[in-house]
C-alpha cells in the first residue's frame, strides 16, 4: 500500500516558495505554535472544519446535518467543542455557500502528484517545480519522502519548507530527496524562541547546522514580526550563526503580514498579534543590515529565487 498523508491545501501558481512557477503542497500538522502563524489551520494534524462567518447565510443546513448537532451556524467550534467534533465533514457537505470547509484530507502519493503535475507545462516553462510546506511537512516524513521521490521521478525541482523543529533522523532521511530547503530561523534567543513559538530553539539550530553540512542548497528564511523578533541584537546573533554555515549563502527576510488573523477567526481561535502592523520598508532594510554585514545575500520578500537566478544568469 502506498503511503498516505494529510494534505490541507494545494496551491498552484505559487511564487514565493522556490524558483519559477510552483505548486505548493501543504501538509497538515505542526509542532510549533507561532504567534503570527499564517496557517493556523495547519497546526492540528487532523482534519478540521473552518467556518467563514462572512459567507454564512444562516440557513441551518449544518445543524441539521451534524450527528452531534452543530452549535450554531456561522461560528467555528470553540476549543471544547473541537475536542468532541467527529470531523466527519457532514456539515461541510451540507453547507450551500461554502462557508464551511473541511481542511485536511487523507491523500495518497498518486493523488497528490496528479494535482501537482497538472501544472507541469508551467514548471517546465519556468524551471519551477513543487514545494512541500505545512504545517511542518517533516511531521509526515515518510509520506514526504515518498512524495519527493515521486516528484523527482517526474523530473520536477523539489523544495521543502521546514521549521526545523523535528528529530534529526527525519531531516536526514528527507535531505537527499529535496533540491532545496527553505529553513525557518525565527528567533535566536532560546527563551524568546520558547515564548513565541512554544518550542525550544536548540533543536532548530542544531538541525540547521547539521543540514548545512550535508546539503548545499539551503536558504534561511526569517519572518520579521515587529516587536516579536525584529530586535537587531537577536538578528546579529542569527546572522553570525548563519554566516558560519557552509552551504547557506542566502537569507530571505519575510515581512510580517496579518493574513493569519482571518484564519485564526475561522478556526475559532483568538489572534494573539491583533495590534501588530507590518514592518516598514525602512525597518526591513535595517533588519537586513546585520546579515549583509557578515557577507550573506539578503532578499526581502519571498521571491528572492528569481532575483538570484537572474543574477546568476547574467
Amino acid at each position: 500500500m502506498q503511503p498516505t498523508g494529510i494534505v490541507f491545501d494545494v496551491q498552484r501558481f505559487s511564487l514565493h516558495d522556490g524558483p519559477g512557477l510552483r505548486t505548493t503542497v501543504f501538509l497538515k500538522g505542526c509542532p510549533a505554535r507561532c504567534l503570527w502563524c499564517h496557517n493556523p489551520e495547519s497546526q492540528d494534524p487532523r482534519p478540521e472544519v473552518l467556518v467563514s462567518a462572512q459567507r454564512c447565510v444562516g440557513c441551518g443546513a449544518c445543524v441539521a446535518a451534524c450527528p452531534l448537532g452543530t452549535p450554531e451556524p456561522g461560528r467555528p467550534r470553540s476549543a471544547g467543542e473541537r475536542a468532541v467534533c467527529l470531523r466527519c465533514g457532514a456539515c461541510v457537505d451540507a453547507c450551500p455557500t461554502g462557508a464551511r470547509r473541511l481542511v485536511g484530507r487523507p491523500a495518497t502519493v498518486t493523488e497528490v502528484m496528479a494535482d501537482v503535475l497538472a501544472d507541469r507545462i508551467f514548471f517546465e516553462e519556468s524551471a519551477g517545480g513543487v514545494t512541500f510546506s505545512g504545517g511542518e511537512p517533516l511531521m509526515q516524513s515518510e509520506f514526504l519522502v515518498a512524495l519527493l521521490r515521486a516528484a523527482r521521478d517526474a523530473g520536477l525541482h523539489t523544495a521543502v519548507e521546514t521549521c526545523g523543529a523535528v528529530a534529526w533522523r527525519r531531516l536526514r532521511a528527507v535531505a537527499p530527496h529535496a533540491d532545496l530547503f527553505l529553513y525557518d530561523l525565527k528567533v535566536f534567543d532560546e527563551e524568546r524562541h520558547r515564548a513565541v513559538t512554544g518550542l525550544s530553539g536548540r533543536q532548530v539550530l542544531d538541525n540547521l547546522r547539521a543540514l548545512a553540512r550535508i546539503h548545499d542548497d539551503v536558504r534561511v528564511r526569517i519572518p520579521v514580526v515587529p516587536g516579536v523578533n525584529d530586535d537587531l541584537d537577536g538578528l546579529r546573533h542569527s546572522a553570525r550563526f548563519v554566516a558560519a554555515l557552509r552551504g547557506v549563502r542566502h537569507v530571505d527576510l519575510l515581512p510580517y503580514h496579518a493574513t493569519g488573523a482571518t484564519k485564526f477567526a475561522a478556526t475559532g481561535r483568538d489572534y494573539p498579534l491583533i495590534d501588530v502592523a507590518p514592518p516598514s520598508a525602512e525597518r526591513m532594510e535595517a533588519c537586513a543590515a546585520p546579515f549583509r554585514a557578515v557577507g550573506l545575500e539578503v532578499h526581502i520578500g519571498g521571491d528572492g529565487h528569481e532575483c538570484t537566478d537572474r543574477t546568476a544568469a547574467e
Binding site: F13, V57, P96, A118, F122, E306
Partner: protein, 784 residues
C-alpha cells in the same frame, strides 16, 4: 512624445465625437441625380469619386500625416445607404450618457429635410429586415443571436504589403489588363466583370484624387505659412501626397501616408466593420526604416514622430454610431483597427525587428484608445519582444493583447490556406484570424449558447415571452445525455435560422452594395473581376461567434451533478427555481454557485462539458458553405455582447441570476475560477483553439503581481505555457478593484482609465454600469 505629438494627442483626446451630415448630403444629392444611370458597382464607384471630390478636407496644425474621414478630427460621417438614422436615433446619440455623439442642429435639419426622405426605405437596413423570414425575426428579437451586417457593411479586413510595393496606378494597370482579357463570347459573366473592373478603376481614381486635393491644400497653406520650418513641412506633405498612393512609397513618411490614404478610402467608401487595419506594420515599414537610417534621410526620432502622428489619426476616428441591438452589443467609440507586432515572415522566420520595438514604445507612450495593438508571439519570437510588450501591458492600458502566432498559422492551414498566406496573415478586430490582403473574413453575429440551453430546458419555449421559439424537444429527460441531445437539437435549429438569414444578407450585399475600393486592395478581386462582397477574395470565411461558454459549461456541470448524479433536486424542481429566479430558495442558488464544478479550475468534471458544447457548436457550423464560395467557421468572442445576451436570459443552473451578464469570451464565469491563473489557462487550453477563427481569454491581475523583472518573467512563462497548449489569445487587465470602484464612483477623476473589455480596450467610465460591475467582479488573480 515630443511637443508636436503631445499637442496632437491632447487635441485628439479633447475633441468630442460629433456627427456630420456632409457625406450623407453629398451622397443623397448624387443618388437623386444619378441613380439608375449605371450598373450598381459603377454607381457605387462614381458616388465614391463624388465624395472624394467634394468632401471637406483638413490639415491640422503641426500634422505630418494628413487626412480625415470627416471634415475635422473626431467628426464622424454617416452612411445612410447602409443605415439611415432616424431623428429619434440622432437625439439619443446626442444625449445618451455613454458614448454619445454631438449632433449639431444643421446635421439634424439635413437629416429631416434631405437624408431621411430619400433613404428611408432605400437603405440596406430597411431592405434587409423585410427580406428575412419570420423565424429569424422571432429568434433575433428573443436574443438568440445578433446580426452584424444589418447596419454596417462586411469589413473585418486588413491590408497586406501590396501598397508598399505598388501604387494605385500599378493596380489600375492590372485592372486594365484583366478588362482587356475579357472574352464576352465564352464567359457569360464577362459583362459583370467589366462593370466590376470599371468600378475598381474609378475607385482608384477617387483615392488618388483625394490625395491630390491634400497636396493642393498643403501647398496653399504653405504659401500663407509664416514659419519657415512649418512651411517646409507642408511642402514636404504636398510632395508626399503627390506621390502616394498613386505610386509606390519610397521612404518611411510616404509609406505611412500611403497606408493612411488607403485606410481613408476604405472607411469612406463604406462603413465596414472594424474599419481597416495595416496588419504587420513593423514588417511593412522595416525596409523603409532600414534604408532611411542607412542613407541618412531618417533618424530614429523622426521615425518615432511619424508613427506617433500616424497613431493620432486612428484616434481621430471614432466608430460611426450604431443603433438598436448592435449599439448594445458593441457600445464603444473604438472602431477596432488593430496593429500586429512581431509574428512570422512568410518564409517562416521570426518577423520581429527594430520597428516592432519602436511601435511598442509608441503604444506605451501614447496609450490612446485607437489603434489597438497586438503582439504576435511565435515560438521563434525572442523573449525580449514579449518582455517589452508585457512591460507595456502591466501599466494597465490593456495594450497590446497577446496572440499565439503559431496557432494562428495552424488555424488558417486547417481552413485550407497556403502556408505563405497563413504566415502573412494575423489577427484583427478583437481576436479574429485572417489572411491579410487576401480574405473576406466576415463576422456575422454573436450566438447566445446559454439561451439555447434555456430553451432545451423549456421544450423550445422562451420562458421570457412564452413563445414556442424552437422545436419541441421534450422536458423530461431520463439521463444527462438525453438532455444534452435536446440541447444539440435546439442548437442546430437556431444555427440553421441564423445561417439562413446570413445567406440572404450576404446576397443583398453582393448585389446591392459592392465595395470596389476594398476589392482593389484584396487579392484576387481584380484577377477574378468579382467584388469583395461577392466572393472576389482569395479566401472567404463567414464566422458565427459563440458567447457564454463559461456559463453554459457550469450550467451543464451543475445540472449533471445535482439532477442526474446526486439526485439532490429533480429537473422539474430546478427548472421551476430558475423560472422564479431562485425566489425563496437562496440555499439552492448558493449550492449551485458554490458547490458544483466550474470551468476555469482545471477540473475535468466541468471542462469535459465545455468540450462537448464546443464540439456540438463546431459540428453545427464548421464547413457549411456560405454564398461567396467559402465556409462557415466558429469563433469564441463576445465584444460586450455577453451583457446584452445576459439581459435576455433567465436564471441559469450555475446559480447565475436572471439578467446578469453571461461569462465573457472563453473566460470562466466571473468569480468562478478559484484555483489561480494556471488553472484558468489549463482549462482554456482544453478547448481546441485550432478549430476556431479566434478565441478570447481575459485575465485580470493586480499590479503587485507584475512588479519588477520577476513579474514580467512570470507573465511571460504563463503566456508561453498557454501557447504550448495551442491557446489562441490572452489579454491582461492590470488594475486593482479599488481603483475601479473609485473610478465608478467618481468618473470625473478617472476619465483616462482604460481597461481591457473583451478583445479591445475602452475607457472604463464609458462602459455601462453593468459592465463596470462585471469588470470589478472578475476574479483578481493574485498570489500575494
Amino acid at each position: 512624445m515630443n511637443a508636436r505629438t503631445e499637442r496632437l494627442r491632447s487635441e485628439s483626446l479633447a475633441a468630442r465625437p460629433t456627427l456630420s451630415s456632409e457625406r450623407a448630403e453629398l451622397l443623397t444629392s448624387f443618388y437623386r441625380e444619378n441613380d439608375g444611370r449605371w450598373s450598381v458597382p459603377v454607381m457605387r464607384a462614381r458616388s465614391f469619386l463624388h465624395l472624394c471630390r467634394h468632401k471637406s478636407i483638413h490639415i491640422g496644425d503641426g500634422e505630418l500625416i494628413v487626412g480625415e474621414r470627416g471634415p475635422r478630427p473626431k467628426v464622424v460621417p454617416t452612411y445612410p445607404e447602409l443605415t439611415c438614422h432616424s431623428l429619434e436615433d440622432l437625439d439619443i446619440l446626442h444625449s445618451r450618457p455613454k458614448t454619445s455623439y454631438a449632433v449639431p442642429p444643421e446635421c439634424r435639419r439635413a437629416y429631416a429635410e434631405t437624408v431621411i426622405p430619400y433613404w428611408r426605405g432605400r437603405s440596406l437596413r430597411d431592405r434587409i429586415f423585410p427580406a428575412l423570414p419570420e423565424a429569424w425575426h422571432a429568434a433575433y428579437a428573443a436574443g438568440m443571436f445578433t446580426e452584424f451586417m444589418e447596419q454596417r457593411a462586411p469589413g473585418h479586413t486588413v491590408l497586406d504589403d501590396k501598397i508598399y510595393r505598388r501604387g494605385l496606378r500599378d493596380l489600375q494597370a492590372d485592372i486594365a489588363a484583366e478588362e482587356a482579357a475579357l472574352d464576352f463570347v465564352v464567359d457569360p459573366r464577362a459583362h459583370d466583370r467589366r462593370e466590376q473592373l470599371d468600378a475598381m478603376h474609378i475607385a482608384c481614381e477617387a483615392v488618388m484624387l483625394l490625395a491630390e486635393r491634400h497636396a493642393e491644400l498643403a501647398e496653399s497653406v504653405a504659401q500663407r505659412e509664416p514659419d519657415a520650418t512649418r512651411r517646409a513641412e507642408l511642402e514636404r506633405i504636398a510632395a508626399v501626397c503627390r506621390r502616394v498612393p498613386a505610386h509606390a512609397p519610397r521612404d518611411f513618411h510616404e509609406a505611412l501616408q500611403s497606408y493612411w490614404f488607403c485606410h481613408l478610402g476604405v472607411i469612406t467608401e463604406l462603413n465596414g466593420w472594424d474599419a481597416f487595419s495595416p496588419g504587420h506594420l513593423d514588417q511593412h515599414l522595416m525596409p523603409f526604416y532600414r534604408q532611411g537610417l542607412a542613407d541618412g534621410s531618417l533618424t530614429d526620432a523622426a521615425a518615432r514622430e511619424l508613427i506617433e502622428c500616424f497613431f493620432v489619426k486612428f484616434n481621430n476616428h471614432p466608430a460611426p454610431p450604431k443603433v438598436g441591438v448592435t449599439a448594445a452589443e458593441s457600445g464603444t467609440y473604438t472602431d477596432f483597427a488593430n496593429i500586429n507586432i512581431g509574428g512570422l515572415l512568410s518564409d517562416g522566420a521570426d518577423g520581429s525587428n527594430p520597428v516592432s520595438h519602436l511601435l511598442l514604445d509608441v503604444v506605451d507612450e501614447m496609450h490612446l484608445l485607437q489603434p489597438s495593438s497586438n503582439l504576435q508571439l511565435s515560438r521563434k519570437s525572442p523573449d525580449v519582444l514579449i518582455e517589452h510588450a508585457l512591460r507595456v501591458v502591466r501599466k494597465g492600458y490593456g495594450f497590446p493583447s497577446i496572440f499565439n502566432a503559431d496557432a494562428v498559422v495552424e488555424e488558417q492551414l486547417r481552413q485550407g490556406k497556403t502556408l505563405e498566406d497563413a504566415r502573412a496573415g494575423g489577427c484583427s478586430g478583437c481576436v479574429e484570424v485572417g489572411a491579410f490582403g487576401k480574405e473576406a473574413y466576415i463576422l456575422t453575429g454573436y450566438f447566445n449558447l446559454p439561451k439555447v440551453l434555456e430553451l432545451a430546458l423549456h421544450d423550445g419555449v422562451d420562458p421570457r415571452t412564452g413563445a414556442q421559439l424552437g422545436p419541441r424537444t421534450g422536458s423530461d429527460f431520463a439521463s444527462f445525455d438525453e438532455l444534452f441531445g435536446a440541447f444539440e437539437r435546439q442548437l442546430r435549429h437556431f444555427l440553421d435560422v441564423k445561417i439562413g438569414g446570413n445567406q440572404i444578407i450576404e446576397r443583398i450585399y453582393a448585389t446591392a452594395m459592392p465595395a470596389p475600393f476594398l476589392s482593389v486592395l484584396t487579392d484576387d478581386c481584380i484577377r477574378k473581376g468579382v467584388d469583395y462582397n461577392a466572393g472576389g477574395a482569395r479566401y472567404d470565411n463567414s464566422f458565427i461567434q459563440g458567447v457564454g461558454i463559461g456559463t453554459i459549461t457550469d450550467s451543464l456541470a451543475a445540472l449533471r451533478q445535482e439532477v442526474f448524479e446526486t439526485g439532490e433536486r429533480t429537473l422539474g424542481e430546478l427548472v421551476a427555481a430558475l423560472d422564479h429566479d431562485f425566489a425563496g430558495d437562496d440555499a439552492l442558488r448558493q449550492r449551485l454557485w458554490n458547490r458544483t464544478p466550474k470551468w476555469g479550475n482545471d477540473d475535468d468534471r466541468a471542462d469535459e462539458l465545455m468540450r462537448r458544447v464546443f464540439d456540438a457548436f463546431f459540428a453545427a457550423v464548421d464547413g457549411r458553405p456560405n454564398t461567396r464560395g467559402g465556409r462557415y467557421r466558429i469563433e469564441m468572442l463576445p465584444t460586450t455582447c455577453h451583457v446584452y445576451f445576459g439581459s435576455v436570459t433567465g436564471a441559469t443552473p450555475d446559480g447565475r441570476r436572471a439578467g446578469a451578464p453571461l461569462s465573457e469570451g472563453i473566460s470562466p464565469v466571473q468569480g468562478a475560477d478559484r484555483k489561480g491563473p494556471t488553472a484558468v489557462l489549463k482549462s482554456a487550453g482544453k478547448m481546441d483553439h485550432v478549430r476556431t477563427g479566434g478565441t478570447l481569454l481575459n485575465m485580470k491581475f493586480t499590479p503587485e503581481l507584475l512588479v519588477g523583472d520577476a513579474g514580467v518573467r512570470r507573465l511571460t512563462q504563463l503566456v508561453r505555457g498557454y501557447f504550448k497548449l495551442d491557446g489562441h489569445h490572452v489579454q491582461f487587465n492590470v488594475v486593482d478593484a479599488d481603483t475601479l470602484r473609485a473610478a465608478k464612483a467618481d468618473p470625473g477623476a478617472h476619465r483616462d482609465l482604460i481597461v481591457r473589455v473583451a478583445g479591445y480596450s475602452d475607457y472604463f467610465c464609458d462602459l455601462s454600469e453593468a459592465l463596470q460591475d462585471e469588470i470589478i467582479a472578475r476574479t483578481e488573480h493574485s498570489a500575494l
